[in-house]
Each structure stands twice: as C-alpha cells, then as structure tokens.
C-alpha cells in the first residue's frame, strides 16, 4: 500500500485553506491508498489539490482519473474490498451517474469515504449548492454528514475513516460539503501533525472479509428471497451500532486533537431557553447564527440547532434538544416534490422525530438557498417571525414557505 514519502505535517500547523483542500490534507494524513476522480464542479477542487500533493511528492497514492463517475465509484469499491483505504467523490448529477456503484458500496459494506460537493441537480444546469444530491443516499446505508466549516471538513474526514472502517460498522461515509460556500472558501484551519493522526487512526483492516489470494472468499454473490432479508437486516444492525461507535470515536478525537463539540450529532447555539429553534444543515449555519445573535440582543428567545449527522439520524438527541421549544423552523436546502404536506426532506425527518412526544411544538418549514442562492440574515429573521406568529395564534397558515422566491 501507499506510504507517505514526505511527512506533510511534522508538527501541527495553522493553514489558510478551502474546505476542499482541508479534505485533501485529511486524505494525505489518513494515508489513503487509492483516490479516484472525474472532473465536475465543485468536486474537482479536491481532485486538483490531491493531484498537486502527489506531484509534489508529499502524498503517495494510486490515483485513477476515471472516464466517468460510475467507474470512479466502482474502482474504490473494489479497492476497498482488497483492503485499500479509499477516497472519492462527486457532485450533483455526477454523483447520480455513479448511483449503481454507490448503492452497491453500502450493500457490500465497503467503508469508502466520499465527498459530495453539494450541487443542484440538472435541469436546469446550475453550479450552486442544493442538498438533494447527497440526500439520495439516505436510504441506502451510507453515513451522511453535513459539514459547516473547513476545519470540520478535515476533522470529520479523519473521523469518517475511523468510524466507517470499524469492524462493528463497515459502512461507507459521505461528507456533504456545500458547493462554493465550503468547497471554495478559505478559512483558517488547524492541521494536526502526522503523529497525532497516526495515534488516532489505525490502519484499515477488513480481517476475514478481505479479498486476498490467501483468504479466498466470495464477495457479492447472487442472493434472492432466500437470503436477501437477512443481508438487509445485517446492514440495519450495522447502522444501529454506528451511533455508539461515532460517540466513542468522537471522544477519542477530542482527546487526541483537543477539539470538538459537545455532541458529534448536533450543534446547539443559544437553544437553552429558546421559544423558537431554527434547524438547518451545512454552511447556512453562519447567517443563521448571526441572525440568532441579533435577535437575542433584542430580547427574542431564539436558538439555532445544526443537524450534523443526517444518517444515522440523531433521533433521541433531537427529541431532547427540541422538546422544550414552542416552535421549530426547519430550513431545507432541498425539496421533496409531492411529499407529505409538500416540504423539505429535513423537515419530514424532524416531524417524524417529534411525533412520539406528548407535547409537540409548532413546526414550520422554510425552503431556502436552493441552487446556491444566499440565505440572508433578514430571511432568517422573517422565518422566526412567521414561526412566532404561528405560536401566538395557534394557527398555521402555511406549513411550507419558499423563502425569497419571485412569484
């Protein structure tokens, strides 16, 4: 397997880098063996960055520039089965073109780590962020995590390998990164040293599941009604085991690197005594936090909750965090046409999460920022006002609102 020829980071270092570069560095630090790529914005930013690291002799790995996204995901899936640590990714319709391979990767329990540079699906052709591309794996057995900062991109890429490759889990991990806002924007990132990473992240070991001439096994045989349900159940059991593994790995990460939030699953911002809690994912955390801060200054009891893990969905954490609120405003950067009540995917998941509670808060859905449109502080303030009105009147005029849309 590939080895790092030059230690990229002998010492921890502060770098001004983009989210994509942060993931590229994480790949180098994790000593990834095989990376595949096919050009599509915004994933190509990672593609180019790892190319440069390879050319500079700073990171040695087998690099295959495939002829399509489908081949890209097929290659890493197979490399993973022989024990290689792999990285790949795509965006928008490129991610969709790879879907046959993507679903099989989870079905075969290959701990591939992939970056989805969130991009609106065609048509119309658009480059900006939308979450529907990554959302498409939500029912397939992939971990699905929404990153908010370049620092988090680097940290979570390292955590992703450790969680995905854990023998109790062995499920692929998708890191969802908002196109442009995260992939292309630079921020200060604390890059750990190679020694720290080596201490945290053990080598990938598939054990008896590794395809090898000395370990002749069959991977992916045909299984019909005789075994299919058992195989599905095994994947479900792995997904049910992963929250405990995530907690464990996150605690270890905090210990080694001295960074991290209270919970790996959700981030709470001024939620404690909040009447209205905004819920969202990814980079819209930034304008939302600003809006919350401003509204707090005027005495409004508002908070923001960021859902980090979308799969596994942090059901209990969310019930606990949201049960005290009078109203919840869910911001979706995605949409599910024809869904129950017509709304966004995050909204539906949250409503389902809150249903078993004895006292359920008012829940409203706001569709915002599709195709890379900016979510403004004023938009967020309006969402809170609308939610407050529903709380005060006890009446919901409109459950789902398309924010800042021309009629």
């Amino acid at each position: 397997m590939a080895t790092v020829t030059t230690k990229l980071y002998q010492e921890p270092k502060e770098e001004l880098i983009s989210g994509s570069e942060a993931i590229g560095i994480a790949c180098a630090l994790a000593d990834v063996d095989v990376i595949t790529a096919y050009p599509i914005r915004p994933y190509d930013t990672v593609m180019q960055y790892v190319s440069r690291l390879k050319a500079d002799g700073a990171f040695d790995f087998d690099y295959i520039i495939a002829e399509s996204e489908h081949s890209q995901f097929e290659i890493v899936k197979h490399a993973s089965s022989v024990g290689a640590r792999t990285f790949t990714g795509s965006s928008g319709v490129g991610w969709f073109y790879a879907f046959e391979a993507i679903t099989v990767t989870a079905g075969l329990r290959m701990p591939v780590v992939a970056m989805v540079g969130n991009r609106a699906l065609d048509d119309p052709g658009a480059f900006g962020v939308e979450h529907n591309d990554a959302m498409a794996v939500r029912d397939l057995g992939w971990h699905l995590y929404w990153v908010a900062t370049a620092q988090e991109a680097l940290d979570m890429a390292l955590i992703a390998y450790k969680v995905a490759e854990d023998p109790r889990v062995l499920l692929p991990f998708a890191l969802s990164c908002d196109g442009s806002f995260l992939t292309h924007s630079q921020a200060i990132v604390q890059v750990p040293s190679q020694d720290q990473v080596d201490k945290f992240l053990p080598a990938y070991n598939r054990g008896s599941l590794q395809l090898h001439p000395d370990n002749p096994i069959t991977v992916a045989p045909q299984a019909n009604e005789d075994w299919l349900m058992e195989i599905r159940k095994q994947t479900d059991e792995a997904m049910r085991r992963t929250p405990a593994v995530i907690k464990e790995v996150y605690a270890e990460f905090k210990e080694v690197f001295g960074r991290g939030d209270d919970s790996p699953f959700i981030e709470q911002y001024m939620c404690e005594d909040a009447d209205v809690i905004l819920v969202g994912m990814g980079t819209l955390a930034m304008p939302t936090r600003v809006a919350v801060r401003r509204m707090r200054e005027t005495g409004k009891k508002v908070g923001f909750l960021r859902v980090k893990f979308f799969r596994p969905f942090p059901t209990e954490e969310l019930q606990e965090a949201l049960k005290g609120a009078k109203g919840i405003a869910v911001i979706d950067r995605d949409y599910s046409y024809g869904s129950p009540g017509y709304g966004g995917v995050l909204f539906h998941e949250l409503r389902s999460t809150m249903y078993p509670l004895d006292e359920r808060p008012v829940m409203l859905n706001f569709i915002a920022g599709l195709g890379g449109r900016e979510v403004m502080v004023s938009d967020v303030e309006e969402m809170v006002e609308t939610t407050q009105k529903a709380i005060d009147t006890g009446k919901i005029d409109q459950e789902t609102t398309w924010v800042a849309v021309r009629e």
Binding site: Y38, R41, M47, Q48, S51, I65, E67, S68
Partner: protein, 294 residues
C-alpha cells in the same frame, strides 16, 4: 436535399446568442464550418437538428439556427439516435467534446458506429476537459501536465479514427478547426454520407491546453488528399491515423458502404417517418391493448 428558391448563407444559420467560448477557442472554427456546410448544401434551418452533450463545445446548439438539443453529459449519441428513429428524414448533426464523446460517453460511440446510424458526429477534440478548467481527457497525450496530472499523464490516449473504423463507422475523417474551408468540405461529405460519419476535429483549447496549440497543429498537419490515399482501404487508413508525431494527417481516412440502422429497421421500411404517421388506433383497440397488458 432541399430545393429552395432562396439561397441561404452561413449567416442565416447564426443563432440568437453569441458563443461564450474563450477568444481564440478552436470551437469558433467548427461552428463556422458547420454553418457554412449546411448553407452550401442548400438546407434550411428546420431541416437540421443539432444535438450535443455537456462541455464547452456542447454549448454549440445554442449558437446555431437549427433545431437543437443540449442533453446530458456523454449522452448526445443515444439522444440523436432517438431523434433519427423518430424522424429519419431529419439531418442530425451531433456535436461535443472528447471527454463527452470518448470518455463518459465512450460506450455510445462504439455502439453508434456498430449500428451505423445515419448521424454526422463532429467531435471538437481539444485533448482536455476545458469546462472544468483543465484535467486530462481520454485524448490527452502521455506526459501531458494538467491540473489533474501535474506529474504528467501516464495513460495511453484513445485514437478516435482507428476506434471508429474498427467499430464499424462508415465515414471517418479528421480535421483541424483552423482550416474552415477544409473542415466545411468534410462536413458536407459527412452529411451527404449515408451511415454513421464521424469527424474528429482538432479544436485547440487556448486556455487550458498549452501543448496542442494552433501552432502545434499547423506545423504537423498534412492532408490525405494531397497524397495518394485510397479511402476504401481501412488498413492503410488505420496506419495513417496512428501517426501523431511530426506528421498528423487530416482528411477523410475511410469511407465504406453498408446498411445504416434506418435501412435495416423493419418499421421504417415503409410509411415514412414515425413522427408523421397517424397512430390509427381507435378507442376500442387501445382499450383492448391496455386490458391485454393488465
């Protein structure tokens, strides 16, 4: 072929929007050549359909005054096959780049050649992915440094001409976008040819491919028609197409004859284009068919 009292010129085939290509892009020459070719062949805009995939060059249908479809990445050929099957009297010109046609859509390239569908495929080959700002493509030369291969490309490029001949295309040519007169002449031959015709056009990307520039081609190109070349001899055609050094040939490498997909498709033998046919299905008959399927 159309007979018309009014002679149209290349200008009549100018689209409503201007190309967004970089100044100096080879694709301008290809657009001009297609416009000139269809005008000189006496076509009117409604007699041509231009179909493309995704990439800089695939924006071309927006810049030409014909019917047009800008489709999915790599899928221009199956889409065009559908168009041709629906209306086999339509002249279908397929355009796109090397990544679109030989990379992600490579399988369709093979099978369209095999079927010998009567399409004219003009590939703007710049040996790089330009729209995504410069990564190696299936036609990039070995050793070429790009953003995805700063260490140099290690992969053997595809040879579109020999591939097309081997897969069964019946008109195979190569051209250079800087020679509009020559290219336009070849496009005319290709459109007239019955069967799958492909023209691999060197169309330099002046922004991201600094190896295969206009000068690079001008110094190396030799035209097949300037020397003895038998276009029915596929073996010599392949030998000449393999040269990519001091001499690079352009011109028609190979032309052969065999039935095209529309010729062998039984449904199209009589009754004209499908899109103009009456369905001729009464309510009762339709109901009978639907119940039969339930």
């Amino acid at each position: 072929m159309a007979t018309t009292a009014i002679n149209l010129t290349a200008r009549d085939f100018k689209g409503k929007s201007d190309p967004d290509w970089c100044p100096g892009c080879g694709d301008f020459g290809v657009l001009n050549s297609i416009q000139r070719a269809v005008a000189e062949l006496g076509f009117r805009p409604h007699e041509i359909m231009t179909v493309s995939g995704i990439g800089c060059s695939s924006n071309l249908p927006g810049y030409i005054n014909t019917y047009g479809m800008h489709t999915l990445h790599g899928r221009s050929l199956p889409m065009a096959t559908g168009v041709k099957m629906a209306n086999h009297e339509m002249n279908v010109i397929v355009v796109g780049g090397d990544g679109d046609g030989y990379g992600i859509g490579g399988n369709h390239f093979t099978h369209t050649a095999r079927r010998n569908t009567d399409l004219t495929y003009v590939v703007m080959n710049n040996q790089i992915y330009g729209l995504t700002t410069g990564q190696i493509s299936p036609t990039s030369s070995i050793g070429m440094a790009t953003k995805s291969t700063p260490f140099g490309n290690v992969e053997q490029p595809i040879n579109p001409v020999t591939s097309a001949i081997m897969n069964g295309a019946t008109f195979v040519a190569r051209a250079y976008s800087g020679d509009v007169r020559h290219l336009s002449g070849i496009i005319q031959q290709a459109v007239r040819h019955k069967g799958f015709s492909i023209i691999d056009v060197f169309s330099p990307c002046v922004t991201f491919n600094l190896n295969n520039t206009h000068d690079f081609f001008k110094e190396r190109i030799k035209k097949l028609e300037d020397e003895e070349h038998n276009i029915s001899d596929w073996k010599t055609a392949c030998e000449k197409a393999m040269l990519f050094g001091d001499t690079i040939y352009t011109g028609v490498f190979y032309e052969g004859e065999r039935p095209s997909l529309e010729d062998v498709e039984p449904v199209l033998k009589t009754g004209g284009p499908l899109s103009f046919r009456e369905l001729g299905l009464g309510k009762d008959e339709a109901h009978k068919i639907i119940t039969g399927m339930m």
